[in-house]
Every structure is written in structure tokens, then in C-alpha cells.
């Protein structure tokens, strides 16, 4: 599903965010990428939806080598991947329903189908009664659930969650984690980036640890090993 081969990312003048990283994620896997701030984990996931491009090496999603993806092809790639961000990245002038629908509208989905699917997804994330609210009228946990609904709505094969609980309290963090686990149980590959020890340990899934741009451990049922 996801394959990174000898990926290096260097920022000018000579900052190495990633050094010769190789990684293979199978379909339906749930992996956690952990590491300290500045370790390169966010750079790594940004490459999966072409927000960053590798300086050297190959990034393959499915059968698609996106290492040198053309600008015009990036929207197509992003419509196949769902991304959940730490700061939610919701459109402030759109309601909950409109935010989720937007992901389908950009992909050219028919209006009738959008009207059918969006309420279903909002029901899954527990926001069926808040569809007409604006993001500013929601709590942090609710905003993150909107973000997850948006990532889910076009039924992507991969969900990338970049520090999704970073701005949330413990209760909301566990709610979000449960949602991601449910999504994974339906067969979606989930890539979780986090530095939250409790979450990683509670998951008991594959853990990849990055330190100074290199993968230092990759354990199938791993734990948070950094001090």
C-alpha cells in the first residue's frame, strides 16, 4: 500500500530531515510513527500526500510512484488519501456539513450522492446533530471529528493522522483513537503520527520510531520506547 525506498529529504542549506528511509506498509495495517519534535516524522507523512517531495529516493502509494509527481496530479492523489491534522484544518466559513461535503465536491461527486453520504459519515463520528454549526461553534474534540469525517467521506484506502490528539484532552484523545481503530477495522490503512506515549502503548500495533531522520526501530506490536 505504501512503500518508501531510500528516501532522503534535505532542506537548504544542509538540514537533513530524513536520511535514507525505507518502509513498507501493507493494506489494512495500523502503524504509529513516533519520534521527538523535529525527528522527521511529519516530513515523512507529508510526502505521502505530496505536501513535500523527496530529495532522493522513491515514494510509492499503491502502484503510483509519487516521488516526482506533477503538480496537476497532486489533487488526484489527495482525493484518494484522507488526512487528519493536529490543527484540524477546517474551513472556517463553512458549516460542519459543508466542510465534509467539500472533500466530495472537489472530486466532482454528484450533489444527490453528497446529500446521502455526508449525513451518514457525520453520524458515524457522532456529529449528526451539529451539521449546521460552524467550526468556531464546536469544541476541539468535535472539530477533530469533523476533520476525521472529511478524511473518511470519500472512502480512502489510506488515512493519515498527523498528531490528531495533539490539541485534545485525554477523554477526547481516546474518542479519536477509538474512531481511528474502527476505521482500520473496516480495512482502511491508518498511519498515525504521534508522540503520545499512552496512545501508542494502548494501541498495541506496529510502531516505527524515527530519530534524527532515521528509522531506529520498527516493531510489530510495539510500545513507545523513547524516553
Amino acid at each position: 500500500m505504501i512503500r518508501l525506498k531510500n528516501v532522503t529529504k534535505t532542506y537548504k542549506p544542509k538540514v537533513h530531515a530524513l536520511r535514507d528511509v525505507s518502509l513498507h506498509v501493507k493494506p489494512g495495517e495500523f502503524i504509529s510513527i513516533v519520534g521527538r519534535s523535529g525527528s522527521g516524522k511529519t516530513t515523512l507523512v507529508k510526502m505521502l500526500f505530496a505536501e513535500e517531495s523527496p530529495t532522493r529516493g522513491k515514494v510509492v502509494i499503491g502502484d503510483w510512484d509519487i516521488s516526482g509527481i506533477r503538480r496537476a496530479d497532486i489533487p488526484g492523489l489527495r482525493r484518494q488519501i484522507g488526512v487528519v491534522y493536529q490543527d484540524f484544518k477546517l474551513l472556517p466559513r463553512k458549516t460542519v456539513h459543508e466542510n465534509v461535503a467539500f472533500a466530495l465536491e472537489v472530486a466532482g461527486e454528484r450533489t444527490g450522492r453528497i446529500k446521502k453520504i455526508v449525513p451518514q459519515v457525520l453520524k458515524i463520528v457522532g456529529l449528526a446533530n451539529k451539521t449546521d454549526r460552524y467550526p468556531r461553534q464546536l469544541s476541539g474534540g468535535e472539530q477533530q471529528r469533523v476533520s476525521i469525517a472529511r478524511a473518511l467521506v470519500h472512502r480512502p484506502k489510506i488515512i493519515i493522522a498527523d498528531e490528531p490528539t495533539g490539541n485534545l484532552d485525554t477523554i477526547h484523545s481516546h474518542e479519536i483513537l477509538q474512531l481511528l481503530k474502527q476505521i482500520n477495522e473496516f480495512g482502511t490503512t491508518v498511519v498515525l503520527v504521534t508522540h503520545d506515549r499512552d496512545i501508542v502503548n494502548a494501541l498495541k500495533k506496529r510502531v516505527i520510531t524515527i530519530h534524527e531522520g532515521e528509522i531506529v526501530s520498527d516493531v510489530k506490536h510495539g510500545k513507545y520506547v523513547l524516553s
Partner: protein
């Protein structure tokens, strides 16, 4: 994706953005309106100055006086000859009798002049032609043109020299006002362009995060740009319509005042804006939209690189 569906969604988002961000739309349109008012004020001043000058120019007439020996037929043939020139707006025949009558009437209280006239006995005035041209520049040509062998021996006097200084002054004033108008228009256009650039850049800057989010969700560049571009056209349309209505309302109030200020000089600004309104406001809409679109495209460029 069907183009029609995309276009429908872009229009939907444009209208949503316009009203949901009402204050930003209001402020941007207000800036556009103030800019257009300045431009229209310059157009108005140029128009008033031009109309006033034209009116004065039209009042400049040059008379060609013939000797008493020149027959009415000869002078009328000279009149016909002059009317054949494009430069001649009008050429009016004034008979010797009419000239005498006019002279007597004008000096009815001056016994010395009337006494002198009586002393002469016969009518000392010959026939004359009063010439009006399209432009004061043309008089030199016209007065030279009449100096044909047929008419020249009978021409007693041409009063061009009396008016020459006045005509030259008018021409010089006309040139200065036109150049001044152009300089003023260029200056205000540059200011207007800078203001429009800034207003749009601010509007885009406010939405820079949203632009990035749309891109991350999978929107292509044109799907993101579309609503912003249409919004820029909508701002321009609103501004031009408001200014168009305001110009006619204001002219309705100040037209009588302008007419009384200029007296005999015909300055009908309202008629001018009615006759040229489509061109003036149409051009303003097109230029304003073009500038707004260009600035929007330019301002969005960096935020689309996500």
C-alpha cells in the same frame, strides 16, 4: 468532473463567501467605490473644462469686411465658397444695410459718432461675412483661403488680427487643461491601481489558510481560484453600479448649480454621462475587473503552492 457541475459549485461558493464574509466584501467594495469616485471626478472635471472651452471656442467668430464696391452677388458667392471648406462651421452674410443698422443701434447714445455718420452721407459699410470655424486653429487657413484673385481686391478688412491674441490664449488654455487632465487622470489611475492591488491582496491574505486547506483536501488550482476570481468580478460590479447610480444622483443635484455658474456656456454634465454612460462605466467595470482578476491571480499564487 463535469465542467458545468464545477462551475455551478464555484458560483455557489462565490455567493457563500461574499455574504459570509460580509465585512471584508463591504470594505473591499467601499475601497473600489472611493477609487472609482476619484476617477469619475477627474472625468467630470475634464468634461466640464472641455465643454466650457468648446463653448468659448464656438463663440469666436471672424468677420471679413468687403468694400462698398463689392456686389451682394460677389459676397454671397464668397460665402458659398467658404461654406465649401470642412473647417468652416458657419458663414453668415451680413448686408451693408444690416451693418449700418447694427452700428447705429449700438451707438444710439453717442451723438458724435452718429453725427460723423450723418456727415458721410452714404452708407459707408460694405457687405461682410461672419465666419465660425470648428476650431480656432482653422481661422488662419480660412482667411488665407478667401484671398483668391476673385475676392481679394474687394476685401477691405479681416478682423482676425483683433482676435488673434484671444484665440491664441484659448488654444493655449485648452492645451494646458487637456494636458493637465491627462496628467491628473494618469496620477489617479496609478493611485487607483495601487489601492485595488492592496485591497485584493489583503482580501486574499485573510484567506490564505483556507486556500491551503482546500488544496490539501484535493481541490485543483482552478477550483480554489474560481470563487476568488468571481468574487473579484462581483466586487467590481457592485462598485461600478453604486458609483454609476451615485454619479447620476449627484449630477441631478449639482447640474442646476453648474449651469448657473457657467451662465451662457452650455455645460450639461448629466447629458454627457447619459450619452457616454455605457462607455464610461462599462470601461470602468472591464478595467476594474481585469485589475482585480490579475491581482487575485498574482496574490493567490504563493498560497496555492501547497
Amino acid at each position: 468532473m463535469s465542467l458545468l457541475l464545477s462551475f455551478y459549485r464555484i458560483i455557489k461558493f462565490t455567493i457563500q463567501n461574499f455574504f459570509r464574509n460580509f465585512w471584508l466584501s463591504f470594505v473591499t467594495i467601499t475601497i473600489f467605490i472611493l477609487t472609482l469616485i476619484t476617477i469619475n471626478a477627474v472625468i467630470f472635471m475634464n468634461m466640464v473644462a472641455g465643454a466650457a472651452l468648446q463653448s468659448v471656442e464656438e463663440k469666436v467668430e471672424v468677420s471679413v469686411y468687403f468694400t462698398p464696391e463689392a456686389s451682394e452677388e460677389l459676397v454671397k458667392s464668397a460665402q458659398g465658397y467658404l461654406l465649401g471648406f470642412d473647417q468652416v462651421r458657419d458663414a453668415v452674410f451680413v448686408s451693408g444695410e444690416d451693418a449700418l443698422e447694427l452700428f447705429t443701434e449700438r451707438h444710439q447714445d453717442d451723438s458724435i459718432i452718429l453725427g460723423a455718420l450723418e456727415e458721410v452721407g452714404d452708407n459707408p459699410f460694405g457687405h461682410a461675412i461672419v465666419i465660425a470655424s470648428h476650431s480656432p486653429d482653422d481661422f488662419a487657413f480660412i482667411l488665407e483661403a478667401i484671398e483668391t484673385p476673385e475676392y481679394a481686391p474687394f476685401i477691405k478688412k479681416k478682423d482676425y488680427t483683433d482676435h488673434e491674441a484671444v484665440i491664441e490664449n484659448i488654444e493655449s488654455l485648452n492645451d494646458r487643461i487637456r494636458i493637465g487632465g491627462i496628467v491628473l487622470a494618469i496620477f489617479f489611475t496609478i493611485v487607483a491601481v495601487m489601492i485595488i492591488f492592496n485591497a485584493i491582496r489583503v482580501a486574499i491574505y485573510v484567506h490564505r489558510d483556507e486556500i491551503g486547506i482546500m488544496k490539501l483536501v484535493g481541490a485543483n488550482d482552478w477550483f480554489v481560484r474560481g470563487p476568488f476570481l468571481l468574487e473579484a468580478i462581483l466586487y467590481s460590479l457592485f462598485a461600478v453600479v453604486v458609483v454609476g447610480v451615485a454619479v447620476f444622483v449627484i449630477l441631478g443635484f449639482i447640474d442646476p448649480w453648474i449651469s448657473s455658474y457657467f451662465g451662457e456656456v452650455q455645460v450639461d454634465a448629466r447629458v454627457y454621462f447619459v450619452q457616454n454612460g455605457l462607455l464610461i462605466f462599462g470601461a470602468q467595470f472591464i478595467i476594474l475587473s481585469f485589475l482585480s482578476l490579475l491581482t487575485t491571480l498574482f496574490a493567490m499564487r504563493r498560497y496555492l503552492r501547497v
